[in-house]
Structures are given as C-alpha cells and as structure tokens.
Amino acid sequence: MAMTETKKMVAITIDGISNQVPEGTLVIEAARQIGVMIPHFCYHPKLEPDANCRMCLVEIEKIPKLQTSCSTRVADGMVVRSSVPHVESARKSMLELLLVNHPLDCPVCDQGGRCDLQDFSHEYTPTISRFTELKRVFPKEYLSPLIETQMNRCVSCMRCVRYCEEVMDAKALAPVGRGTMTQISHWAGNELECDFCGGCIQICPVGAITSRLSMYDFRPWMLKRSETICNFCGDGCQMTVQRKDEDLIEVNSTLGAGRNDGDLCARGYFGYHANVHPDRLQNPLIRQADGSFAEVTWEDALERVAENFSQIKAAHGADAIGGLITARCTNEELYAFQKFMRGVVGTPHVDSSARYGYINGVKALQRVQGTHRWTVSFEDIVEADVVLLVGTSITEANPITGLKVKQAVKKCGAKLITLETAVPAFSTVSNITTLATHHLTVLPGCFDVAVLGLMKALVEQNLVDERTSGKATEFARTIIAEVEKISWQEIQQAVGLSSDQFNSASRTLSQAQRLVVLAGQGVLRDIGGEGIVTNLLDLLILSGHHGAQGSGLGVLAEENNEQGAIEMGVVAEYLPGPSKANNDMAQATLSKIWGMSVPTTPGATMLEMFDRARQGSLKAMFIVGENPLESLPSDAKVSESLDALEFIVCQELYMTDTAKKAHVVLPAASAVEKDGTFTNTEGHVQPVRKSIEPVGESQPDWEIFSALSVLMDSPMEYGEAKEIFKEIRGLIPQYGLLGPTSIPYVAKADVVEQYLREGFKEDVHVRYALTKKILARDGALTLVLGQSMYHSGKFSTRSKGLTQIQDSGVLSLNPENATRIGVDDGASVRLSNGNGDVTVPVKLVDRIPPGVAWFPEHFDHELRLLFRVTVDERNHVPCWKTTQVRVDRVA
C-alpha cells in the first residue's frame, strides 16, 4: 500500500547540488541519490530510523544544531551541508568516541577489509588517539555454533536487534545491560535459538557478529565472488557465493539484489556446503558381477549406458525405458533430459519431483486461468491489504516469500488470514501465525474442508460479488447450492472450527482491495490438491477479486526449480511450454526444432513407471538426482520396482539408496559448479553461475545427456548451457526475459470465461463434496512429517552448517499432549500403529497444536515405515505425510 500512493516531490539542495525527491524521503537517502555518501552505522534502508550512532550528522540551514540525516525527512527548499568543517569535526569526534572502547583487533577480525568502522576511520580520523584509559572489556560469551559475537567490537548501532525484530520478526537478539555495558546477546546466557537467517551477521557494520562457519578462514580480499541463485527452495534467492581458490568460504546477499532483496534464510546463508560434502561422487561407477561398484572412465560408463538403452529399445521398444529427474536441476538440464528421453530414446515416460505436489498447483492455474504461472508477484504480496495463507508453513518452506508477508503485515498494515497447522505461539523462532488477524488451526489433510468453510461463510453472509454472480450466474448458483448442502456441524466435526471463525475470516477477505492467496505443501501434496487450489480460485472469483489489480493466487514450490521442471516439460503430461503432451501442434513444433520424432502419447507418471516395472513392461530407468527409495514409504514398492528392472542408471551427487541399486552411476556436478538458469516459484527465470570447478570427474548433467545422445546416434550437440537456453527461448517466449523484472501473468480471459461457463462442471460435485476425515482415535495423535526451516529435502542434511543447527529428527509435541503422555524435553517416546513402531526423542513446542506430533521429514528414515501412501487419482501424486499413531513414553 505504502508503495502505491504517489508522493509529491519537493526540492532539496545538498552540498550545492539541487534535486527533486519524494516528500518524506530521508535526507541521507536524498543525499545518496545525488551521489553524496553520508557516513553512518545505525542507518539501514530496511529499518526504522533509530539515530543512535550520531555519525550521519549534517548541517541544515535555519536549524541551529546538527541534525541526523538518517532520521530527518526532507522539507521543500531544505538546504543541507555535509562537508563543512563543523560537520567533518563532528564525524571525527564520533569515530574517536566509537574507538574509545573498541579493542582495535582488526588483524584477527573477519570483517577486516570490509568494515565501516575501519573505512570511516581511515577516511576521517587522525592516526593517534588521545584515549589512554582502560577499555571496557566484555568476557567472551558463547552464543551459538554458527553465529559468533565479539561484543568488544560492537558499536551499539542495534542494526542486528532491529533487523531480527522488524524484518525477521524473530525477536531473538536483545541488547543486554545499559550504557557502555550494553551488549548484544540472546537471553540469560542461553544458547541462541532463532531462524538462523544470518541477517545479524550481514547487517553488522563491524566485526561484532560473524559466521563461525568461515571463522578465520580468509581475508575478504582473497575471496572471488559469483552471483548465483540458491538451490534449496522455490523462492529463488539471489546470493553471492564467495570462494578462496576452490573452497567455498561464505555466502552473502546484497541489499536490493534479487527477489530476496538481500535477505536470506538459514539454508541460503549456512547451507551451501551441501553441494560439496566430502562424500561427493568423484568418478563414474559400473556394477560388477559381485555386485560391487568399480570406478571406470567416462567413456566406458557412457558406452555401457548407450549400449544398454539401445539394446532394450531394440528388444522391447522405446517405451520400455523411463526417465525421472529432480527439479533441483537447471532449466537447461531439465530441458535436455526430456529431449534426450523423448527425442533420442523416444519414450514418452518422463517425470520429475514436481510430481510430489507442485503439479497440482500448476494444473489448477492452467485449468482456470490458462496460465501456468502466478498472476501476482512478490511486490503484490507486500502491497496487498489482505493475505490468505493456506497450508504453507511459509516461514519453514518458503522463508523469503514469508518475509514478504511479514513486510505486508508489519510495515504496510495488511491483514493476515492463516489456515495453518501451527498455532500462534511466541518464541524466538518466527511463526507467521502470530501475525495473523484471523488464525484457523487446520490439521494436515483437512485444508480442503477448511477452504469449503471459507466459501460457505462467504456465501451465507451474502458476500458474493454481484458483478460475478451477475456474469457467471450458473457458476455462482451451482457453487452456492453445493456449499449449502454442507452443514456447519459436518465442517466443525471435520476440522474442529466454528462457523464464527470462518465468518469473520471471510468478511475480512471480502473487504480486501488487493487480496493475495498463497497455497503451500499442505494443499499441494494432499489428495485432490488440484481441486483445493481450484476451489481457492473459485473463492477469488466469487469474492470478486479474481483478475483484479494486485489480487491473485500463488502456489509455493518446495524445490528450487519445480516451476522450471513443469515449464521444461519434464512431467508426463506436459511437453515444454508447457503444452499438453498430446497436443499435435506442440509435438510438430518440437520434432521440427529437434529434428527428431516426438512420442504422441502422454507418458507414465513416476508411480505408473514403478507399476510397469513390476509388471515387466518397463525394463530400464534413467534416474537423475532423484531418490524415490528414500522419498516414499515402503508400500510404494519402489524397492521391488527397481529390483524388477533390467537396467538402472543413476546420475547423482551422492551415493543414495536408490543409486546403490543402479548398474551405472554417473557423477553429476552440483549447482555451484555449473551455469544455467532456475525459474522461481513466482516465475522469475534467473541465472545460475559457476563458482568452483566440478568436484573430481563430475560433470554438469546437460553435458552428460548430450554426450550420451552422440553415442546413441541422434546427437544433441551443445557447446555450453547458453545454447540450450537459446533453444528453450525459441520454444517458450517467457524465457525471452531473464532476471528481476517482474511481469505477473494475467489470466487468459477466454479460458476463465470457458471455465465459468462449462469447465467448472466437470468435477464441481467432487470438489465441493465433504471428504471423510479419519479423526484421531483417543490416545492416538496425528503424526506429521513436515518441513523444517533449517533443511530442504534430504539434500541439505549434508550441509555442515545446517547440521550444526539440526542434525537429527526430534518429535515436536504440544506441551499439553506431552504432559498427558508424561514426557518432557529430551525424553523418548514410542510411536506405534498397525505398520510398526519407532522410538524417538521429544521436544515440547507451543506452536504444535494439541493432537499433532510433528517430525522433520528430512530425518524420516526410520519413521517412514509407519506411513502408507495413497495416490491422488487425478494427477497421481503420492500422498503419505500424515498418519495416526499411538504415542507412549519409554522408561
């Protein structure tokens, strides 16, 4: 909102240079705009002015005292002087005073060489200090395994504390004590518990807060930097990877750069070593007769693969071969993979990790709006006046999108409605639900009903937008009739929420000027996920927000390139574009550009491929960076399926359980070792840049594909990733634009119109039918495998930084349940159900609702046996993240 109002311009003169700036601009900003840099410590554009360091004093005409330019707003005709002797001497003295209690230990300070205090001192102060007294010395305090504080260096600018509260909303850092004895700490000597976003380290202008991950490993000027994109979640944060020779030293981000605008999360800031764990595969491997792997040359390995694929193709046809790839790969690699499978091998069976749920979201968008992308941008989230979150666990799953929501609420006063599993409970780990105007606690698996509740409340309070009900009469009438069939009792029974709760939420929702809805894993990974997203779009339509400026729906990608995976066509039902796999025109264009024939039938999805393997119709699989064996519970029969295959190729960073079953294992290069592009969840195509050479013999996936294609006599010859990108660009116009400019997609009017006339009917009864919920039998709890904010899939569990925050799974229980079970922090419990039992340690966590036992999916190894997979009929999404368990304490 703040951003939408157009500000009146005023005239200001700084050091003789005149300029027009928007009313209310801070003098220090106005100065920067005309190239006058005013030294400062406590000022930061992301933070409310605090004017405590007094470094930015300037002279303003007609005001007797010097003023702090960081807190003074421009007035029309203001005349400012920043370089008159009076001001210069004030700066000198400020620095002299700041150094009074500073240890001057620059030689052993990681900030040395990029320290504001050093730079300003160098610029403004004499070389000798008059201070000859004793310095205040703080005893060293241990804060955390990753964040180091050296409080004798602190200049008390409070930027870290203010960032932690104002931006992250964690409130984990505190200024402790008073006067010169003030130091930054957590509380009462306890070890730091927080989001570990690293923001305090990055925002500290001196060396008072540094990273222990790279402590004493470098001097800033030894570092080489490359701008790239984080390869953990779908937010697609821009980051600078800094290396010394071939070692990754640190990651940081730049204010104003990327979709993250300089913010990062724990994974982005501390997780980068996941790419270069010592266990990385260094050479191609071929399985020997005795079952062991032998290191071989690339030639041997690739020939073996080409041979086997060709033989099987000859003997059983191309569609005896299937391909599965991870959505963590670059667009270029994903594209090359499906081209290899469809064009070179000639099989329609291609799928990727987008199958785990994201596909549900994109298909709903396609169906209702005719676009596979968000119709809103991060900017729209910030400017929204109402934001609705449904099953997102946003601070864990998509922390930076979460920051946009926090910003909307905290800085711009937006109202927040959360349909989430977490309950509002305050701790030093941020929790989006504490910011909610309306919070409705929804257990996993119940989001569909919760959405129906919202819809029913909208309908019953006559909040349905007239223009819509006027235009789309039948659509409106049908849905109104549908929700009226459902009774509040039924809803209450299913989700334990009252009509009042839904009513007040939907009132707020309907009053929105700019309404942004975000749907996360809780929706996308669930049975009927596409239907739930479709219903959310129905909600936007009926509340009159659909298609309105700044309003719309976004679906949140868990992995960094799920959006890209679908646009590159690495899912069974889509060709690049994405266009439907059975779309003749698309097929024609492709075979023309590729000079290869393209399969005409839609392929098999991941689980279908496994079924076919067990039935014997699928003989070989090419699995790239995916680890289904560890991603799915045993009843998905992945193990049996793989055993049934004649030939398996795994292309991997690490020797996973799946790879252990392969006949040939090919070492792939990690995201920091190659160039390419990722497409973030919001639809921004962003450049990935190489910072170190591939480890050992490993190679970028796309190079491996093109090498194989040559050996299989239908070469896809690319000299570098850029050439693949050119080809993609030719096929998909949206890839004409790289980088930060946001062009939110607009719904295609004709598609919407068709949906409102006919489209919705197809499954409206299914979507608006109340599904049965297995209510937890007394004594039993709902066990949930969820995403932790410190990890991303299993990939990040190899990061030496993140494992220092969380290196194993602990079961989170609501204190109330814990007391009933009779356990406290650190105790162990046995989880049991029909499928087996497992013993795990517990932790009491207020934000976990009663009746739920939450466990981080990244460490689900033993727990998986408790779960059973159910397959979504529409999109074959395997759903299995919740189950019912008995929880008993073990003595």
Binding site: P49, D50, A51, N52, C53, R54, M55, L57, K65, L66, T68, S71, A90, S93, M94, E96, L97, L98, V100, N101, R130, F131, T132, E133, L134, R136, V155, S156, P175, G177, R178, G179, T180, M181, T182
Partner: protein, 437 residues
C-alpha cells in the same frame, strides 16, 4: 524577604493535615474539578493555564498551557496524560513530598488536565524506589474513585477519567519524557527521536501530555483563584507562581521550601537554609539539579526564576539547590556527578555513552593525582563533542558539572595535575590508570 502565601505546601504545613481525602476536601479540595466539569469548555481551561504563565517544573520550564494546545484538535481516538513522578534528578526531592503528603492535590490537577486535553486514561510514572509514595497514591486514587471524583461519569458530567500508578524500576533516564513513554510501553527506557513530539505521537503513538508532579499540583489553584492571581505571583511575566525548591548539601536546614520565583538564592540558602552548617564560607552551589552548571558566591543574589538563572549561565531546571562550603573539592564534586551520569546513560547515543565513560576515567585519574597537563583540553573537547549532538538533553546535562567547574575552578584541576607531575618527576615509572566504578 516580604511575606507571601504558600500554594502547594499550604495544606501540608499544618501538622494536623494527613493528606486524606477528607482533609483535602475540608480545605476546598476537588471544588476546581467540580467547577470545570460543571461546564467550563475544555479549551477555556487550556487558555486559562496559558494566561497563568505556568511553566513546567520538571526541568525544561516549558509553558504548560502552550504544551497542551499542541495536541491535535478534534482528534478521534484515545489521548493520554502521563504524570512524570520519576523524580531522579540528583538534588531534587519535592515531588516525593507533594505526592506523599497531599496526593489529592496532584490527582485533582491531573483530573482537570485530563478533562482539558480530553484524555480518559492517565498514568502516574513513579520511580520504582518510591514504594511508599506509590502505595499512598494507589490508596488516594481508590478514595477519589469511591467519592466519585474519578472513574466514569464523574459528578454526572458524563466524563470518564481513569488513573493508574505505574512504577519504574531504577533508571534516571526514564524521567526524560520520551524515555518515560518507552518505559510505560514495557521497553528499555531509551529516549525517542524528536520530532515527532509526544503531543502528536506519544504513548502508544497517540497524542500525549507529559507533566511533572508539581506542575500538575498547581492546576487546581489556578482554576480556583484564576490565572490573573497566579500570573501576579513570583517574577512575572515569564516566571509566575511559586516553586518548591529543594535545598541540600552543606546547609544548616536542608529541605523543601516553597517560595515565589522572585526569591533569591540568598533568601533560600542563608535566610531559610541558615547558611553553611560549619560556618565556613559558601564555595559553590548547583541551582537546578545535577544537570545545571555550578554557580559561585557572586551569583548569590540572583533571582531563582527561569530567566535570571539562565542569564547567570546556568538553569533553574528541577529546582534542586545543592550547596557546597569552602573546602569542598570541585574536581571531586564534578567526578561524583559524572559517575552518576556515566551510570545512568541509556547508551543509545555514541557521544553520551562513550564520552561519559571517558570523562569519568580522566576525572578519576586527576582526582587520584595521576592527571596530565593535556587532560584539561581533552576534557573540554570531549564535552564540546557531546553537547548538542545527542538524542536527548541528557547529553547536555552530563557535561554541565565538568564544564562549569572547569570554568570557575580550573586552578583546582591544575593543582592536582601539578601534584601528579611532581610525583612523576620524582619516580619516573609509568602510571597505571585506575577504573573504579
């Protein structure tokens, strides 16, 4: 000096007076409140207080009526009155007496103020150490509520006024009005950047008036006897009314003495205070609390109104007069005050935080005969670098003792430093600075 009528301490000067509601009403208490609630337009009261010339007694001496008039007119939504009862300025102990001996006088003043500015809720921020005072106020508020002077629909006027006592927990800076507001909001007592001022963005960012205990205690009398009466007392036109001066230090009879503002320091220190208790001559006095620059015997006939004291190069600040007899070390005195300021700096601003710690250490060295000739210039410059460059007036306050003692008693500093030099000359070893705070 010619006889005059006490205003604020009149009741309590009667030994039989207990400060109970009964006693207060017996002396005409709460008539002023009844009067205004009976239908005096709010703005008339503001105008009345303006006309009376009443100025803040907390330290800044800002015209009270003018301050009230800064509140946004016809503002919908809550406004607040905060009574500043933090009384932490060394040398000041009048508010404690006004609250503990005649609580209702202040409460009535607050009630009238609340009505005048349209505040339904008001808080009395009292320093945490004043447990006795806090209890007395709580009881008085309860009494007043019972009697219908406070609460909702007071005396059938439809006006609601609630008052709550809010105890601090030991921080001088919370006397600074914006720090007080921060503290009331449950935060660290750090002064806010101004503008915006409390009048528009005060407590909970709502329009707020902060007034000192003594200031508010004057209000009922002004209402009862009219602004003209008040404006004629003391040193019109600029410093009207009386002040309760706090006399401490080397005098025979220390204590709180209410005098019209045209009284002189001689009247207070010698006629009333009985002069130096040791009958040594007067050496120095602080005219307005620890934040006010020291004055010398030449200033003894200065009038104690705001202007005159300012003219004399100091300020009448909080009305605390501390007297020092011949033989008192001015370096030591400055050091003691500086240690106070060092201890109380909130730590927000670089100059105040770092400067106070530096100055204290230099003074300690000089005091311990380890001073150096260059120290005095360094002191002077540090003071200049603090003055006028901080968020709140604490910065200006903390340099007053050092600057003024350097101005009038520089030779005492020099003597100590010469002593140190002499010692150095004899034993050539390097001295170790001492830190003892």
């Amino acid at each position: 000096m010619e006889p005059f009528e006490k205003i604020l301490t009149k009741n309590m000067s009667n030994p039989a007076y207990t400060g109970s509601l009964q006693d207060y009403e017996a002396t005409g208490g709460y008539q002023a409140l009844r009067k205004v609630l009976a239908g005096v337009p709010q703005n008339d009261i503001v105008e009345m207080v303006k006309k009376s010339g009443l100025r803040g007694r907390g330290g800044a001496g800002f015209p009270t009526g003018v301050k009230w008039s800064f509140l946004p007119k016809d503002y919908q939504g809550p406004k607040y009155l905060c009574c500043n009862a933090d009384e932490s300025e060394p040398g000041t102990f009048k508010d404690r007496q006004l609250m503990e001996r005649d609580p209702h006088q202040m409460l009535e003043g607050m009630a009238i103020t609340c009505y005048a500015i349209g505040a339904e809720t008001s808080y009395i921020y009292i320093r945490g150490e004043f447990r006795v005072g806090a209890q007395i106020l709580e009881r008085a508020i309860e009494e007043a509520k019972q009697a219908g002077h406070l609460g909702s629909n007071i005396h059938g006027s439809g006006v609601t006024i609630n008052m709550y006592v809010h105890a601090g927990a030991g921080a001088y800076i919370c006397g600074e009005e914006t720090a007080l507001l921060e503290s009331l909001e449950g935060k660290r007592g750090k002064p806010r950047i101004k503008p915006p001022f409390p009048a528009t963005h005060g407590l909970y960012q709502k329009p707020t008036v902060v007034n000192n205990v003594e200031t508010l205690a004057n209000i009922p009398h002004i209402v009862n006897r009219g602004p003209e009466w008040f404006a004629a007392i003391g040193a019109p036109p600029k410093s009207t009314g009386t002040r309760v001066f706090c006399l401490s230090g080397h005098v025979k009879n220390p204590g709180n003495f209410e005098l019209p503002m045209n009284a002189t320091f001689r009247d207070l220190i010698f006629d009333i205070g009985g002069g130096m208790r040791s009958d040594k001559p007067l050496k120095a006095f602080i005219p307005g609390g620890a934040s006010a620059p020291f004055l010398t015997p030449e200033h003894i006939d200065v009038q104690m109104d705001f202007e005159s004291v300012t003219m004399a190069g100091s300020m009448s600040g909080s009305g605390g007069i501390t007297v020092m007899e011949e033989g008192t070390s001015m370096v030591w005195a400055a050091l003691r005050l500086m240690e106070f300021f060092y201890h109380e700096s909130c730590g927000k601003c670089t100059p105040c935080r770092e400067g106070s710690s530096w100055i204290v250490q230099i003074l300690q060295r000089i005091q311990n005969t380890q001073g150096r000739p260059e120290d005095l210039d360094t002191l002077t410059e540090i003071c200049e670098n603090i003055g006028g460059r901080t968020v709140c007036a604490f910065g200006d306050a903390e340099i007053a003792p050092v600057q003024s003692t350097l101005q009038y008693w520089r030779h005492e500093y020099e003597a100590l430093i010469e002593e140190a030099e002499a010692v150095r000359a004899t034993r050539k070893e390097k001295e170790i600075p001492v830190l003892s705070i």
